[in-house]
Amino acid sequence: MITFEGVTKRYADGTVAVDDLSLEAPTGAITVFVGPSGCGKTTSLRMINRMIDATGGRILLDGQDVREIDPPTLRRGIGYVIQQAGLFPHRKIVDNVATVPYLLGWDRKRARARAMELLELVGLDSELAGRYPFQLSGGQQQRVGVARALAADPPVLLMDEPFSAVDPIVRASLQDELLRLQSDLQKTIVFVTHDIDEAIKLGDMVAVLRVGGRLAQMAGPATLLSEPADDFVREFLGRDRGIRRLSFIPAKDVRLVTAPADLVVDASGRPLGWRGDGGLLPYGTFNPERDSLRAALDAALLAANGTAVAVDEDGRVIGVAPREALDEVLGQYAARYTVPDPEDPYEEGGHQDTGHQGAGPEDPAHEDPAHGEDPHG
């Protein structure tokens, strides 16, 4: 756990970048710092690994004041990923990834073996290991940056707008990859972004900062969407808050009925389309086990008759959700207004120590954005 206790940073020129910031980034969860440009996100992040020293307050890493730790030693135990990847241009990819293991005195063979392992983990072809950074695309470089940060298996990972320099499609896949990695590795991650959608997609907890380095609100993504603390947060969240909340409502509560004969399926039970006068009509599917209400609604809107087709993991039809069924769930949540944030990932594991609400790797907040957009997926 990373604890900020009344942390202030006043630069030499008098700029107060961070002002009396107090918050907790829970162990094993992704905490996102989000806010407009210049609000002190980078400064806050860099005070954790002492790339910048706070001028007031304390930052505790599992209870220990980071100021008591010699900076290089501290940093070797904290993964750090920056926007432009910051790879060493003169070193091959494999040696870039092995940077911290080398620093920790691992022998070359072991460090390189570990680096190869990590390249695979972040989804890079082992063929790239012998290349130099300039021979990689921006997205690949970012993956290497993540692999390098993870090489010595640090418990904490700091990421400063790591995906903002790549195009939206690559960004989305890097985000999905991060969530996949995180579900295996359960690192304590502090992630900085100015993109609220990225914050909501990735964050178990989201800290919204306002200019001047003050905390505007800290909450789980669903709570943030439904209960913004003030006008600043509301405005920063942007439009469609209601619709975006749907991503956090699991689709498993949707009442399913038996698929009507009008739904044509193939031999293995996968949908082909709705029977129409001149042939098959379009349909949409969702997976109630995995998807959110947003995906279910999307599936309904894709079909001419407004009925969403529910499928299992293998894409076989298990029923359909008529409009009334979707409406029932919507009504439930609209009435309750508050969407519960997903459960703490470590509730069962006994690691829970903050009493906050954070999302686990399995929860729909994470799974959904990847799948919800593509019900045919």
Partner: protein, 220 residues
């Protein structure tokens, strides 16, 4: 062209203490020693100033001022102060000539490394000297070697002044030819200086190929 053939085909020019091989070696010796001495001063200083940012103004200003120093003037001054009889009168001006390009290029090379890269290096947990030697130097190496190459060419061309104080080198041919109005010798000597300068250039280009990482060569 005929003059060159005359010069190189005359067996008298090849033998004895005044022959081509001896003069060439003398010239090479002054050049190499001066270059090494200059590098020993300029590279560490350039690295330190580039890495710490301390004293950069002083370095740039004095390096530029040093460029304006007349080599021959220095040579005469050194002779007046310490007299002839050692190689210092030729080495000191040559070192003064070679320091500025090496110093300025080393400094610029280190200072010019992408701040994000430097930042990432510290962020990974490298200590100051590790950042310098494991990251900044390899990345700045093309510029450092460029500085060495420029210095080497200037030194080789200027080492002819050694002849003024009776220290030999290829400058002898030039001066002797002028004194005896035997211009074949002058031109032959000048030609050898040019060849040596080109060889120095080629040598450093080759060194860059070997020493600079392929990952960095792309950037320059």
């Amino acid at each position: 062209m005929n003059w060159l053939i005359d010069f190189f085909s005359n067996p008298a020019n090849w033998s004895g203490p005044g022959g081509i091989p001896v003069r060439l070696l003398e010239h090479l010796e002054f050049s190499v020693v001066a270059l090494l001495m200059a590098a020993a001063v300029a590279i560490p200083l350039g690295l330190w100033v580039g890495h710490t940012g301390r004293g950069s103004l002083v370095v740039v200003v004095s390096a530029n001022a040093a460029r304006a120093l007349p080599t021959l003037g220095i040579l005469v001054l050194v002779v007046l102060i310490i007299g002839v009889g050692s190689t210092w009168p030729v080495l000191i001006p040559l070192v003064l000539l070679a320091v500025p390009p090496i110093l300025v290029n080393t400094y610029e090379g280190v200072r010019g490394v992408d701040p994000d890269l430097r930042d990432a290096a510290y962020g990974m947990g490298l200590r100051g000297p590790q950042v310098l030697f494991k990251v900044l130097v390899p990345v700045a190496l093309p510029l450092i070697l460029l500085g060495m190459r420029l210095a080497a060419i200037q030194v080789v061309a200027t080492a002819t002044v050694a002849a003024y104080v009776g220290l030999g080198g290829l400058g002898r041919f030039i001066m002797d030819g002028l004194a005896t109005k035997n211009y074949t010798i002058t031109i032959g000597g000048a030609f050898l200086v040019v060849v040596l300068a080109l060889a120095a250039q080629a040598g450093f280009t080759l060194l860059s190929r070997v020493a600079v990482s392929p990952g960095v060569r792309q950037f320059r």
